[in-house]
C-alpha cells in the first residue's frame, strides 16, 4: 500500500451510487483514499496522468479500478479496452461493478481482459457484504507487480 497514493479509483457517473459504494467501503474501513471519476474521459485522464491529473505518475496506480459500464462520453467498455491495451496500465486490476446482468456485457468485458465482474446487488445489505469481500480481496489479499516494470520508462 502506497501511503500517498489512491487505493481505489471508482468510475461511476451516478453520485448516489458513488456515495453508496464509498459508504459501503468506508464502513468496512477498507479504503481511505478513493478517487471518484464521473465519466470515462475523467477516468482515462486519471489513469494516463493527463489533463487535470498530469501531475500523477504511472508508477503510482490505484490498487484497483471499480468500473461502471454505463458511462457518459466514454463507456466503461472503452475505458476497459484502453486500460488493457496500454502496456503501462495493463497490470492495473479492473473490477466491473455494474447493475447490468446481461450476458453480452459479461462476455465483452472478459474478452477485453477484465479481472473481475460483479453485479451490484439491489439490496444494500447484500451490497455492503459484496463490497467487504472485494475490498478485502483486492486491497489486502491480492499482490500486485512493481508498476515500474510496466511503466516503459
Amino acid at each position: 500500500m502506497t501511503p500517498q497514493g489512491y487505493e481505489i479509483l471508482l468510475v461511476e457517473d451516478d453520485p448516489a451510487d458513488a456515495e453508496l459504494t464509498v459508504h459501503a467501503l468506508r464502513k468496512e474501513r477498507l479504503a481511505n483514499h478513493i478517487e471518484v471519476a464521473r465519466d470515462g474521459a475523467e477516468a482515462l485522464d486519471f489513469l494516463f496522468c493527463r489533463g487535470a491529473y498530469s501531475n500523477r505518475s504511472f508508477t503510482n496506480p490505484p490498487r484497483v479500478v471499480l468500473l461502471d459500464l454505463k458511462l457518459p462520453k466514454i463507456s466503461g467498455h472503452e475505458v476497459l479496452r484502453a486500460i488493457k491495451a496500454d502496456e503501462r496500465t495493463r497490470a492495473i486490476p479492473v473490477v466491473v461493478l455494474t447493475s447490468s446482468n446481461q450476458e453480452r456485457d459479461l462476455v465483452e468485458c472478459y474478452r477485453l481482459g477484465v479481472n473481475s465482474y460483479i453485479q451490484k446487488p439491489v439490496d444494500l445489505q447484500k451490497f455492503q457484504e459484496v463490497a467487504r469481500h472485494f475490498g478485502m480481496y483486492w486491497l489486502v489479499v491480492n499482490h500486485l507487480p512493481p508498476m515500474a516494470a510496466f511503466s516503459g520508462k
Binding site: 451516478d14 448516489a16 451510487d17 453508496l20 459508504h23 454505463k70 447493475s99 447490468s100 446482468n101 446481461q102 450476458e103 453480452r104 451490484k120 439491489v122 439490496d123 444494500l124 445489505q125 451490497f127
Partner: protein
Amino acid sequence: MNKALKFRRKLAWTWAGMALVLLAVFYMAVRGGGEAIALEGWVAHTQEVLRVIGDARLERARLANQWLTNQLARSDGGTGGLDADSSKLREDVARLRTLTADNPAQQALIAELQEVFDKELTPASSQSSAGGTAGSANPVPWVETTESTARLRALFDHLEANERALLASRSRAVQANARVTRIVVVFAGSLTLLILGTAGYFIQREILNRGRIETGLRKAQELLGVKYEDQRQELGHVMDDLHGQIRARQQAEGEIRLLNTELEDRVEKRTKELHEANQELEAFSYSVSHDLRAPLRHMDGFSRILQQEYGTQLPEEARHYLDRVRSATTHMSSLVEDLLQLSRLGRQSPQLCRVALRTLVEEAQAETLSAAGNRDIEWRIGDLPEAEVDANLFRQVWVNLLTNAIKFSRNQTKPVIEIGSLEEKGETILFVRDNGAGFDPRYADKLFGVFQRLHRQDEFEGTGIGLATIHRIIKKHGGRVWAESQPGQGATFYFTIPTVIPSSETHETIGARA
C-alpha cells in the same frame, strides 16, 4: 356353327338333291324316248314280217293257182313262170327267217313252213332224179295237196298271230313304261318345282335377312359415325375447356407468384421493421433494467443507512415512514424485475429439449423454499412425464406456480401442495394444487392478465405478473392454462404441454436479450 356356313351347306344339299332328281328325270326321259323309238322299229319290223308273210301267202296262192292251171294245160309244158314264182317264195321264206331270227317260236314255225314248201316244190319220189338245184332253171315240180294248203294257211295264221301278239305285248310294255315315265316326270317336275320354290323361298328369306342385317349394319354404322362425331366434338369442347382452365390456372399462378413476391417483399420489410422494433425494445428494457433500478437501489440504500446508522436517534413515527419507503421500494423493485422477465419472454424463442419435468419441479422447489421459510409444507408430488420444452422457461413456470401456492397457503396450519399430471384426450395435463386462500371463480378469466390481481396487497403481496408470465410461456409452447378454485378452498392451476410447437411461435428475433 356359323349361320352363313349353315345356310351355304343347306343350299349345297338342296342343289345336290335337285341335280339328282333332274338326272333321274333326264335318265327316264332318255330311256322313254329310246323305248319309243325302239317300239317304232318293232312296229315297222312286225309290219315287215306281216307283209312278207302276206307276200309269201300270195305267192303260194299264185303258185298253187299256176300249178292248177298247168295241171289243166299239161301239154303246154311251159314252166318258166312257175320257176320264177317259186324262187320268189323261197326268197320270202328266207327273208322271214332272217327277220325272226331272234324269235325261236317263229323260227320253228318258219322251219315247218319251209318243210311244207319243200315238200310241195320237190316231192321226194318224182323229183329225186331231177336232182340239182331246186331253185335253178329246172322246172319246178309242184305237188299241191289240200292237206298242205290247210297246213300252210294255219302256219301263216300262226305266224301272223305270233307277230301281232309280240307287237301288242311290246307296245303294252312301252305304254306302261311311258306311263311310269310320265308319272316320274310329273312327280320329279313337281319335286323340282317344290325344291326350287323352297330354295327360292329360303334364298329370298336369306336375301331379305341379309338386306335387313345390312340395313341394320348401315344404320349402326351411321349411328356410330354420328356418335363418334358427337364424341369427337364433345372431346373437342372438353379439350377447349381444359386449355381454358390451364390458361386460367397459369394466369392465376402468375398472379400468385406476383402476390407472393409482393408478400415476400412485405414480409421482409415487416421483418426488418420488427427487428428494428425489437432492438428498440431491447434498448428500452436494458434502459429499464439499468436506469429504473438504480434510483430504487438508492432509495433502498439510503433509507437503510438511515435505519442502520440513525435509527436510534429517530422517533418511532419517522422509523415507520422509513419502513413504508423501503417496502414501496422493494415492491417497485419486484415489479420492475417481473416486467423485465415478462418482456424478455416475448422476445425469446423456446430452446426445446427433452427434460424430466420432475427435475424442473425439484429445482423450482429448492428455489422457492426460501419463500416458504421454515413452514412445514406437505408436498405431494405425483408422476411427472418427460417433455420437449424450454427447461429455463418451464422452471420459471414451476417457480411462479409454487411461489403462488406457498404464498396463498401460508395462513393454513397444514399447508398441502400437490403436483401431478393426468392424461386426457391424448393431452398431458399438469397441475399444481394448494389448500390455500383460493379465489372467486367469477374472476378466473382475469387471472392470467398482466397486473391483474384477485387479492388485496395487504392480504397477499404480488405484482400481478407471475401468472401472466406463466400464460405467456405455456402459450409459447402451444399449450393452454387455466385454473379452478373456490374462495377458502384452495386453487388448482392446470396447463397442457403439446407435442407440436406452433411454428409462428418458434420464429423469433435473434439477439433478443433483456
